[in-house]
């Protein structure tokens, strides 16, 4: 019933603050489509889907119903029929105007001064809670029904609306400001043959604009020409996709000549292209000019939001402007997630409404009977209202009156308070120094503020491997050349040496160009190189040639490699240290220092890496004139086509070389050119051409040699095994979903302690058909059930609502099992008829590893668990391929500072190291859950204690809907007198110190089992509230009924009674919050005592003579507080009420502590008696041998292959010089920056020793 927002807006704005704070540019970023061209097909498809989802709600123009309204109001964005294709002619505004394309004015703001109030209110009243309170307000305006003053509802409502409105207004103000700033940016537009300064918003489609270095691109432009050779220009796309590396764009050759203004002014080409869309990495269109057609691709486009770098100037033709740009098309909000407590709360609120109606009905019936029996006779003193003609009708009216009075059981402040608490918890996450990564300077970030307490309930963690569990920092670990393996270190006795006991690393001092940071322990490899072993030489030659690394040499001998993927860098660095130094490259050559001598190879082709091919090749002509193809790639890909490798290697890249026939090459090169010129599906065509040459060479026709294999270690991140062990102890099941191959995944499983020696058996499911998979799963289950091996605590999968079938397996499981399943088996296992079987098997296992899974499968696995286990899932990952599962899981966590920020953008929480997960869950999550539960319990308690008093009073006031309290008390009770102490508890409370929750991971369990706030707990608090209300009403009633004041006057006047009941209520709930607060900080003290003080201050102020004299009709309680609270009887009553309300609670808690303490009680107790023993402390288990502690991840990025081959990034001057061997300052970045004029002279060659 309550907030189920029609719009993607958040239920109350407060969490928007968090979001706004978390991502100041959120509107600009959104979950971008895979901008990297390297995604696999599945990935791309899926991401496309997600983007579609986003497109449905672009920020500026969609906000639910209000959004469409706004969209129409937006001045800049006129509604047009959907475009089918876009035509834009350069320098022809008249022609372009007839299409009515959107101008370059953008509007992300939602309101203007006039529309703010109506539109904002309209939006806010879409919240069910707000509407409900509005409905109450309207009810109150009916005089016959009104039982409270109008302000008792309107004050809290206005307060809540005002807070939200102020926040919305502030947000919108900043949006206006940024809109204005952006719209008023200056750009140089070519108008009537001359460059004129224009504001961005006046730029039209078809204009030619000039950009200068470091300027933002104003609209989506077709690059026409630039200051750089070949019409190249460089852009940074950080604002678009979060990647900070530079990208290169190139004008098509025909326009790249158009350098000067007079020629550009005459340019009248027409662009015909696809309609606006949000695909950042796709563009298809054509330029028609001089009766020819030139295909256009994304490579020719400069997108709005990019920054021009290292390029003096460039000219571009505006193709999409303003809201049509890809940036704006991509801005949107991610799907709104809610927590299970949210859902429970909504259910409970519905129940409370039901309860409210029941109470209303009872009281209404009471009223009808009373009016019939007594009221009719009492009419002498109080005639019925004119509208009331029967007792029945009076009862009907009193129903509504009571609905108004009793509405405080669900106060509007509940929702605001929950948001405030969550916001506080989010800040604590952001502020946590223990989740701050010093190395990367990244703090943890709560990107959504609505999920915090769910962090305390996680049962399943789905983790990516590369970059999440591992560092994604590749280290050249081992290699094998011609069957001889290098890299293992043996001690004197010939045993493999462990990590800690390694001898000195290999000395690379012979090589002045060696990388000092590179470490290798096996001296035999260097010996082999030095001995001149041809195979080893050829092996390292491959490593130094077959790559797309760029080298930069700032000073003589100081080489810096820029690699697109860390493993490529690791390989080239290894070759460098072993004497095959990749020194510099030009489009056509690669210069390598082979054991000190410079050798220049002619580079004929680079067949670049991508995720499908999983390999790359280069074709070079060596100084002897032979054409060779060097290929390296993932072992599975290469070995599939070759004889099986015999080497004991874990993570391998195999390397091949092959001599090529000159003619064959020529012919193939021709076809490649054609493919690369193809307009549509260029990438597919290229891939097939590449495939052809590689498979040909690997085929029987050619003499292909396997040179060797390399093992690159992807080190585990710091603290991963400990974290996993701790989370496992906390009964969190961790599933690793990785794109890696099975062996790697299993090894990582061992090294990060997911799989241990305690595991009875690891089931490996690798079936290729449905039947095989089913059979394998069945066998695994049978084994688990039949196993004679029984370990005491074998029981693993705890379930809240297990189906009978599931329990049967779970109960029978003895021992610890692990499941490893392959991507293709998973595809079958996830089919509708097998998914339950799979889930059942997987959940019975202690560890689950899914390897070779696609992003979509990751999401499916998460969805499966989410759907059937009714458990809270958390997905953690770092890359674009994890976005799907991050979005699917209840909680998505992104590892920041690794591969780009797509995962982070899609995530709810982000930090930079996996190990912080334990703190996020066990400390922050646990506390959030605890606090939220305590908060809710207390909140419902206090409101029932408050409201139910009216119900009891109904029986004594003829069910006339008379309130017990002063109306001001009703207004202020929830927003002033009792709000802050419970907020302070909800924000600051701690049951045990944070170290303890790490020491005793079992403390996490109550959250998983949902023990602290569920329907049962809810009824307990309700019952407690009702109990308190009974005492708070009937004790004063009992006393007042007979007693007199000490001056003889009547004690039981209505006003004294109201003050007594209100005061005892405030004191009772204050004492109760004092009891509930486990962690009394100064703030808690301040709020609790402050609330009491404020209560009395306001009470006395409201009852003062001064206010009465000014407003005699409003402040009727004049003199009451002074007079009543001076009576000893009143205070004795208050004291008794407090004692009777509180003591049973204390007794109950004490008994529970003694008889049935839960773990946190015990932990606290043990602390109290200063016997800190860590029984559940996570003990370190002995590590595995280091040989298994390795991981592998292959490059996820396409290299610079194409760019290198085109030579476009090389200066003419440097090209000329690069033909010679070495040259200082040949770093490519450096060369890009240098102007043609001040190109440095080349120092003389310095032959290297060695």
């Amino acid at each position: 019933m309550l907030p189920e927002p029609a719009s993607p807006a958040t239920p109350t704005g407060l969490d928007l603050w968090g979001q706004q704070r978390a991502t100041p540019h959120q509107g600009w970023q959104g979950p971008a489509a895979g901008p990297k061209g390297q995604l696999t097909h599945t990935e791309r498809k899926w991401l496309g889907g997600c983007v579609q989802e986003v497109k449905a709600m672009p920020l500026g123009v969609s906000h639910g119903i209000a959004g469409t309204l706004l969209g129409e109001m937006a001045l800049c964005a006129k509604k047009r029929p959907p475009e089918e294709e876009r035509r834009a002619r350069a320098n022809d505004r008249e022609y372009n105007e007839k299409f009515q394309y959107a101008s370059n004015c953008i509007k992300t703001s939602k309101y203007n001064i006039l529309t703010f109030l109506p539109v904002n209110l309209f939006e806010q009243f879409q919240e069910v809670a707000n509407t409900y309170f509005l409905f109450l307000l309207i009810l109150q305006l009916i005089p016959q029904v009104s039982s409270l003053s109008w302000f008792t509802t309107i004050v809290p409502l206005v307060l809540v609306l005002a807070i939200t409105a102020v926040k919305d207004a502030t947000d919108d103000y900043f949006r206006h400001k940024s809109d204005n700033q952006v719209n008023n940016r200056q750009s140089q537009v070519l108008i009537d043959g001359s460059l004129q300064q224009e504001q961005w918003m006046n730029v039209r489609v078809g204009d030619i604009i000039k950009l200068e270095n470091n300027q933002f691109v104003a609209a989506d432009l077709l690059l026409l020409s630039s200051s750089e050779p070949h019409g190249l220009c460089y852009i940074e796309t950080a604002e678009l996709d979060g990647e900070t590396n530079m990208k290169v764009r190139q004008a098509i050759p025909v326009t790249s000549e158009l350098g000067d203004i007079s020629r550009l002014a005459k340019f009248d080409g027409e662009v015909v292209c696809e309609p606006p869309n949000n695909k950042l990495d796709k563009f298809s269109g054509a330029l028609y000019w001089k009766e020819s057609k030139f295909p256009l691709s994304n490579q020719n486009m400069l997108l709005r939001g990019c920054v021009l770098r290292n390029t003096e100037w460039c000219f571009g033709l505006v193709v999409f402007a303003g809201p049509d740009t890809k940036l704006m098309q991509n801005s949107g909000r991610t799907k709104f997630k809610r927590t299970s407590i949210d859902r429970l709360m909504n259910t409970l609120v519905l129940w409370i409404f039901g309860f409210l109606v029941c109470m209303g009905v009872i009281l209404a019936i009471g009223n009808a009977i009373w009016e019939h029996e007594v009221g009719t006779r009492f009419q002498v003193y109080l005639p019925w209202d004119e509208a009331v003609d029967s007792a029945f009708f009076s009862g009907f009216l009193s129903f509504w009156s009571y609905i108004i009075i009793l509405n405080t059981v669900v106060p509007i402040s509940l929702y605001v308070s929950v948001e405030v608490i969550r916001l506080g918890h989010s800040y604590f996450i952001n502020w946590d120094r223990k989740m701050f990564c010093m190395k990367k300077q990244t703090p943890a970030e709560a990107r959504t503020t609505t999920l915090n307490e769910e962090l305390g309930q996680v049962e399943y963690v789905f983790s990516d491997k590369t970059g999440t569990l591992t560092q994604n920092v590749m280290v050249f670990h081992k290699c094998s050349v011609r069957g001889r393996s290098y890299g293992d270190v043996f001690d004197v006795l010939g045993h493999k040496a462990e990590l800690g006991e390694r001898p000195q690393p290999v000395d690379f001092s012979f090589n002045p160009l060696a990388d000092k940071k590179f470490l290798f322990w096996d001296p035999t490899l260097l010996e082999a190189v030095k001995m001149g072993d041809p195979h080893t030489h050829e092996f390292f030659r491959l490593l130094s040639l077959c790559h797309t690394v760029m080298s930069e040499e700032k000073n003589e001998g100081e080489l810096y490699y820029k690699a697109q993927s860390p493993d490529e860098g690791a390989l080239v660095t290894a070759a460098r240290n072993f004497g095959f130094v990749f020194r510099s490259r030009t489009p056509k050559t690669i210069t390598v220092h082979e054991m000190g001598t410079a050798v220049t190879y002619q580079l004929l082709a680079i067949l670049d890496f991508n995720n499908i091919r999983k390999r790359m090749s280069v074709i070079v002509r060596n100084p002897e004139g032979r054409i060779r193809l060097y290929c390296k790639g993932a072992d599975t890909i290469l070995l599939d086509r070759l004889h099986p490798s015999t080497q004991e290697l874990l993570n391998t890249t195999t390397d091949h070389l092959n001599d090529l026939d000159e003619e064959y090459y020529e012919e193939w090169a021709q076809r490649r050119l054609q493919a690369s010129l193809a307009q549509d599906s260029r990438e597919d065509r290229l891939a097939s051409v590449y495939e052809e040459v590689e498979s040909d060479m690997m085929g029987p026709l050619w003499d292909l040699q396997l040179l060797g294999a390399t093992a690159i270690e992807d080190r585990l991140q710091q603290g991963v095994p400990e974290t996993i062990a701790l989370l496992t102890l906390a009964n969190i099941k961790i599933w690793v979903l990785t794109g890696d191959k099975q062996e790697t995944a299993v090894n990582i499983g061992y090294s990060c302690k997911m799989l241990t020696d305690d595991v009875t058996e690891v089931f490996v499911v690798t079936g290729h058909t449905v039947l095989e998979v089913r059979e394998e799963l069945r066998k695994a289950r049978e084994k688990m059930m039949d196993s004679p091996h029984t370990v005491g605590n074998g029981f693993t999968c705890q379930e809240k609502r297990p189906s009978s079938k599931l329990t049967s397996v779970l109960e029978a499981v003895a021992g610890e099992y692990a499941l490893v399943i392959n991507g293709h088996s998973l595809a079958h296992a996830l089919e509708a008829d097998m998914e339950l079987e799979f889930l059942e098997t997987a959940c019975a296992c202690k560890a689950v590893i899914c390897c070779r899974v696609t992003p979509l499968q990751k999401a499916q696995v998460v969805e499966l668990v989410k759907k059937h286990k009714k458990a809270v899932t958390l997905a953690i990952g770092d890359g674009a391929n994890d976005v799907s599962m991050i979005k699917t899981a209840h909680i998505g966590v992104g590892i920041s500072g690794q591969e780009g920020i797509q995962a982070v953008l899609a995530s709810d929480y982000s930090f930079s190291q996996f190990k912080f997960l334990q703190r996020l869950l066990l400390v922050h999550g646990r506390w959030s859950y605890l606090r939220m539960c305590k908060f809710l319990c207390y909140f419902f308690y206090k409101n029932f204690a408050f409201t139910m008093v009216h119900f009891w009073f109904g029986f004594f006031c003829g069910f006339s809907a008379q309130t017990v309290y002063d109306q001001y008390f009703i207004t202020l009770y929830n927003i002033v007198y009792t709000s802050l102490p419970v907020l302070a508890m909800g924000v600051f409370d701690q049951d045990v110190p944070e170290q303890r929750s790490m020491e005793y991971p079992k403390l996490y369990e109550p959250g998983q089992l949902n023990l602290l706030f569920n329907k049962r707990e809810f009824f307990i608090c309700i019952a407690q509230g009702i109990y308190a209300s009974v005492l708070v009403f009937f004790l004063p009633y009992g006393v007042f009924a007979e007693a007199a004041r000490d001056d003889g006057a009547q004690l039981a006047d209505y006003q004294s009674f109201a003050v007594t009941v209100a005061t005892s209520l405030v004191i009772v709930v204050s004492v109760q919050i004092g009891l509930d607060t486990g962690y009394w900080t100064a703030i808690n003290h301040f709020f609790i005592w402050g609330s009491l003080a404020v209560y009395f201050a306001i009470l006395f102020a409201m009852h003062s003579d001064g206010l009465f004299r000014m407003f005699p009709n409003q402040f009727r309680f004049v003199g009451n507080a002074q007079s009543s609270l001076a009576q000893p009887t009143v205070w004795l009553t208050i004291a008794l009420t407090t004692v009777v309300c509180i003591l049973p609670v204390v007794a109950f808690r004490f008994l529970k502590l003694s008889l049935k303490p839960d773990l946190s009680d015990t932990v606290r107790y043990s602390q109290l008696v200063r016997k800190k023993r860590a029984q559940h402390r996570c003990t370190r288990r002995p590590g595995r041998t280091s040989s298994r502690r390795s991981g592998y991840a292959f490059a996820h990025q396409e290299g610079f292959g194409e760019l290198i081959m085109s030579g476009k990034n090389m200066r003419l001057s440097s090209l000329g010089l690069a033909g010679f061997a070495t040259r200082s300052g040949s770093g490519w970045i450096e060369s890009l920056r240098r102007k043609r004029s001040d190109s440095p002279g080349s120092p003389p060659d310095k032959p290297l020793k060695g």
């Binding site: 007594v374 502020w431 120094r433 006339s960 008379q962 004041r1045 003591l1143 007794a1147 606290r1164 029984q1175």
Partner: protein, 347 residues
Amino acid sequence: MTKMKKTSQICQSKLPDNTALKQQQLPAYRLQLSATGVLSGFFATGAFCLGVGIILILSAKSIKEIEIKYTKICANCAELREDAINFDKECTCSIPFYLSETMQGNVYLYYKLYGFYQNLYRYILSRSNSQLVGTDLKDVGNCAPFSKSHNGTPIAPCGAIANSIFNDTIILSYNLNSSIHMEVPMLRSGITWWTDKYVKFRNPSAINLSSAFTGTAKPPYWSKPVYELDLEDTENNGFLNDDFIVWMRTAAFPTFKKLYRRLNRVQYFIEGLPAGNYSFNITYNFPVTRFKGEKSVVLSTLTWSGGSSLFLGLAYTVTGAVTWLAAFSMMAIHLMLKEKRTLFIER
């Protein structure tokens, strides 16, 4: 160099502040329900409650109080009042009673109504404070259904509360012997709250009261206008009439007693009300039988805490007893488990 400095500053700004608040390390007292704390608290509370309870019971017992319901005794008058036609017929009723013990000290005379709902929502609302405070006699905004008379003049005092004022006159006579009947001297002053008498109720300012109330009508059930409530004492006339003020302080429950007079301790009555024969002479005006109500007169003394209420004393005693009971059983449970728990912790 400056660049270095700048970057290090940026780095520092990213690192969250190391404040106790942000790191959730605020110094705090951890609330712990320790056995000693809880049990000693229980025993102390129990002792306090028992003590207060016994004192309250004892003081309540010391109170002398008699109550005489006179609706049935004055049945003829009640019947007369059933019919509105007889509104101007006077009916008096004498209720003799015997006081067996002297009522020591201050004695208070109350009237008590059963089943009269002064706490109905519309009834409580039906008054005009701005009129009663004398600033705006014409303000009868909230007074429905008794805001204006038939001819449209505003009623003063308006509203249902004022209209339904208790208008019996109760006179207590002391029958020293069969021939000497002596009216017991009673004070009508000091029966209202100070703020009521001096802040909440003021007469409109004018030369005399009757002119102040010109342009207003008397409440329909009243026999005389408000400025004639007490013609002898101007301080007790108009809105400032003590009986009126007492009535206007509405009761919380349908059964209530309101202070009517207090004993003027002079002559025979310096010590209080001596034992002997008394009679109440009641002018019966206020009809209660229509709504099945009852009226009674109450004579009572007071103690330090006010009027008689055994309830509070009993409640305290019971609470104290139960608290002690609970404390003992909790202590027993605690001692039984203590051994077990120490073992558990040490394990």
